[in-house]
């Protein structure tokens, strides 16, 4: 009985922190069982992520991850889920990679148009899922995910065949001209990080200080209450999904114009930004400022994971395990909390 009561006390601590604490413990045990030193592994993660000379790399990794976190957080704030981040990401990336090649415009204008087009394309593709739910009652949870696969497949086809750079043997598009690439800030960091900072600030501001942010929050708290108060749920779903997809598309274009300078098939999806972003957004329950923090945390964890893999015998998969335990524990806690009432 008293053990249970104490356990209840732990559960009432800020849930995200408790979840992270549990994940660190379980992860440490895993490392211990596999015969390595958990303290050393964790030390390498911290050094690899936060040591001053490593910070730019962490931020560079965080740029798309935090971007995808925001893309996931916006619908989540209104109680909706966008599982189609991958599809919106590759569509945006393709637009970003192709627009500067086909538009004979001065570099910066081409870049701006490419970014704009990427956001528009990603946004419209995401809004398609919302439209399907409003018009045909196809649950967005399913349609957003299912719409993702054809997008990824078609883009892959385009990059491998009609749009392929035939001078190389790889499935990739031609390089974008120098002028259309995002300017470098310091080291590996480019303008993209600033754009994500601005977008994050905007999303937080809209969430806290505007009518549409209020209406989305209220929908997330109780959709029937929002409808009763005069919120047009259909229009709102379209708007939330469009914004979410637009950010995902923009992230795709930022990756292309900021670092890879061409669309390289598979290069966008293998880091699984969409899923890390979704987990970060879930960790903060859609609250944008918290989601950004969670996104930064996951980015630091993953960058630190690379360092740990280099320096110790522990593979970087450990950091993904940690992430998953955090989410799993949060989900379990939600269930327990409900039963307590």
């Amino acid at each position: 009985m008293s053990v249970l009561a104490n356990f209840g006390g732990v559960l009432r601590a800020p849930p995200a922190l408790v979840a992270i604490g549990v994940a660190v413990l379980v992860g440490g045990l895993l490392v211990l069982v596999s015969g390595a030193d958990p303290l050393q592994a964790y030390a390498q993660i911290v050094v690899g992520a936060l040591w001053p000379q490593n910070l730019p790399d962490t931020l560079n990794w965080a740029t798309p991850l935090v971007g995808m976190t925001l893309a996931a957080a916006i619908p989540l704030r209104g109680g909706m889920i966008n599982l189609g981040g991958d599809g919106q990401l590759v569509i945006g990336a393709l637009v970003g990679a192709v627009a500067p090649l086909v538009a004979p415009l001065p570099g910066p204008i081409a870049a701006a148009l490419a970014l704009l087009g990427a956001g528009l394309a990603g946004g419209l593709y995401a809004a398609l899922a919302a439209w399907g739910e409003i018009r045909f009652r196809v649950p967005m949870l399913i349609s957003s995910l299912l719409l993702s696969y054809p997008a990824v497949g078609i883009v892959s086809y385009l990059v491998r065949f009609p749009l392929r750079d035939t001078t190389t043997g790889l499935p990739q598009t031609a390089m974008v001209p120098d002028g259309a690439r995002l300017p470098i800030l310091i080291g590996p960091l480019n303008m993209g990080v600033l754009m994500i900072v601005v977008i994050a600030a905007l999303v937080v501001l809209v969430d806290r200080r505007t009518v549409i942010g209020y209406e989305l929050r209220m929908r997330g708290a109780n959709a029937r209450f929002a409808a009763y108060g005069g919120v047009a749920l259909g229009r709102q779903a379209l708007g939330a999904m469009f914004s979410s997809g637009a950010i995902a598309g923009l992230v795709g274009a930022i990756i292309v114009l900021g670092g890879q300078f061409r669309y390289i098939d598979d290069a966008l999806l293998s880091p699984a930004y969409t899923w890390s972003g979704l987990m970060a957004a879930l960790l903060a329950q859609g609250e944008p400022a918290g989601a950004v923090l969670a996104g930064l945390f996951f980015a630091a964890l993953q960058t630190g994971g690379f360092a740990m893999q280099r320096e110790t015998s522990v593979p970087r998969v450990l950091t993904l395990v940690l992430q998953s335990i955090v989410i799993l524990f949060l989900a379990v806690r939600g269930g327990l909390g409900k039963r307590e009432r």
Partner: protein, 506 residues
């Protein structure tokens, strides 16, 4: 020596964490007696009943059945000992027949099979013996609420219950069904059975019970004999203060129609429309009551009036503006405020704070927002003012709506909707499940709204509320408005007949 009481609770205590739900409760019922257990929401009635029926175990104290201490570890033990309970929400299989429902769990058998003939015969003889008229072969799903309740009672009697607990049994009944239930209760008591009647309705306790035990704040505060007490005395015990039971209202001075409904029809899933050709008006300075047994289209009618549902035919005008098939925002903009039936699922966001809850519907216009930007200071100020004005008991304007009690949550919803100062107010079950103090307050507010010239449509399942507040009364039956009469022409009996689908003999 007098025989031991049928059921006795001595010093029963039940705690939920820090909350004391039952504080040394003593309760006695003699056999053949009807005892009303009264109290406001949260006074501990439900907890006490669940202890007596074995659904939970007391932390302290003893329960005696015919003088012998019993310790039920589940409701099955209680049933075996001769207890029966009819819950507010019935526990029946809609697709099975009456007799199948009654014998379920204790079927007469012949070898491995259910002895259908014996089962049916036993149920039939039970219905005859106790005057509970039910066709044993009817499918339960097709029966009215009143009949289903009889089946629940039959279930208890079939299991040889000597003590029956009826939890708010009249909440869903028409007046005639209620009278039928009372007749059954009297007959059962006459046979020597004991009835615990949980209710918050004073006139019902006075009409049927021999004695009343009143709970307040987890304790027994009064034990009275109905023949030697009055309604006001019971209310004083329930609330701890004097309450004016009479709804005082002046004469209506009705003006121009502010809510006009013409031929409103809402199609249902089947062939029969949920609302069929509803036409009526609510004028400035009058309260129009819409009576009806729950599920006769009132909910759908209100949804169509407020824009939550698109009607298939017909017109709605609010303060002269035609709103047919427009969205909720347009309705609100035209001047319609709405206290919804379900404050938890519709009227509030429990996970959001009071400030956000009180801003809903006002958030698109000054002073709460300007060009799409919220004025958070104005939202907080507004919340503080409404909380103070309507005396909502809440820790602060930043506390979650989910932390409020039922009555205070309803006050918050009422506060928000009245502060629209809209010409038309639709109040749907505005006092359901709230305590007497809040009922008094909300009734006063509705009359005040009327007196300053607003049009109020009151939808309620409580006939006393309809009769006490309305200037004009509509009755809805199977989707149609079957009567529209002045208050002076209405009586409980007449409304009850209309609600049951019979035309009033005029």
């Amino acid at each position: 020596m007098a025989p031991a009481p049928e059921l006795e609770a001595i010093g029963v205590v039940k705690r939920y964490g820090a909350l004391l739900a039952n504080d040394h409760i003593d309760l006695t019922v003699e056999s053949g007696e009807i005892l009303a257990v009264m109290g406001e929401n949260g006074a501990g009635k439900s907890t006490l009943m669940s202890l007596l029926y074995g659904l939970q175990r007391p932390d302290e104290g003893r329960i005696l059945l015919r003088g012998a201490e019993v310790r039920f570890s589940s409701a099955l033990d209680a049933i075996a000992a001769g207890m029966g309970m009819v819950h507010q929400a019935f526990k029946l299989f809609d697709s099975l027949t009456v007799w199948e429902n009654v014998v379920f769990g204790a079927e007469p058998r012949r070898g491995p099979f259910i002895d259908r003939r014996a089962a049916r015969a036993q149920v039939e003889s039970l219905t005859e013996a106790h005057g509970l008229r039910v066709d044993p072969d009817a499918i339960v799903g097709a029966l009215s609420v009143g009949v289903r309740q009889r089946i629940e009672i039959l279930k208890a009697l079939y299991r040889r219950a000597r003590v029956l607990i009826l939890d708010e049994p009249t909440a869903v009944l028409t007046p005639q069904e209620r009278d039928g239930l009372f007749a059954v209760m009297r007959r059962l008591a006459g046979e020597g059975r004991t009835i615990l009647f949980v209710t918050h309705k004073l006139h019902e306790a006075m009409a049927i019970a021999d004695r009343v035990t009143v709970l307040r704040d987890a304790r027994v505060v009064a034990r009275m004999r109905t023949s030697q007490t009055t309604q006001s005395e019971i209310v004083r015990a329930m609330t701890g203060r004097n309450v004016d039971l009479q709804i005082s209202r002046g004469v209506a001075a009705a003006g121009a129609p502010l809510l006009e409904v013409e031929g409103l029809t809402v199609a249902g899933a089947g062939a029969k429309p949920l609302v069929e050709g509803a036409s009526f008006q609510v004028r400035a300075g009058e309260i129009v009551g819409l009576a009806g047994v729950a599920g006769n289209g009132q909910t759908e009618l209100v949804e169509a009036l407020t824009g939550l549902r698109v009607p298939d035919k017909g017109a709605v005008r609010v303060a002269g503006a035609t709103l047919t098939a427009r969205d909720v925002a347009a309705h609100r903009h035209a001047g319609l405020a709405y206290i919804p039936e379900d404050r938890v699922a519709v009227g509030a966001a429990l996970g959001a704070d009071a400030t956000d809850n009180l801003a809903m519907g006002f958030h698109r216009a000054a002073p709460l927002s300007h060009r799409g930007l919220l004025n958070v200071a104005a939202m907080v100020k507004r919340a503080r003012e409404l909380i103070a004005k309507f005396n909502v008991k809440i820790a602060s304007e930043r506390a979650l709506a989910g932390s409020l009690s039922g009555g205070n949550l309803q006050k918050m919803v009422v506060a928000r909707e009245l502060s629209h100062e809209a010409p038309v107010l639709i109040a749907e079950q505005p006092t359901r499940g709230v305590d007497i103090g809040a009922i008094e307050f909300i009734h006063g507010q509705l009359i005040a709204e009327r007196d300053i010239g607003r049009a109020v449509l009151l939808v309620s399942a409580e006939l006393t509320e309809i009769l006490g507040l309305s200037d004009r009364i509509l009755v809805m039956y199977e989707g149609r408005i079957v009567a529209d009469m002045a208050r002076s022409q209405a009586s409980e009996e007449k409304l009850g007949l209309l609600m049951a689908g019979r035309t009033a003999a005029s």
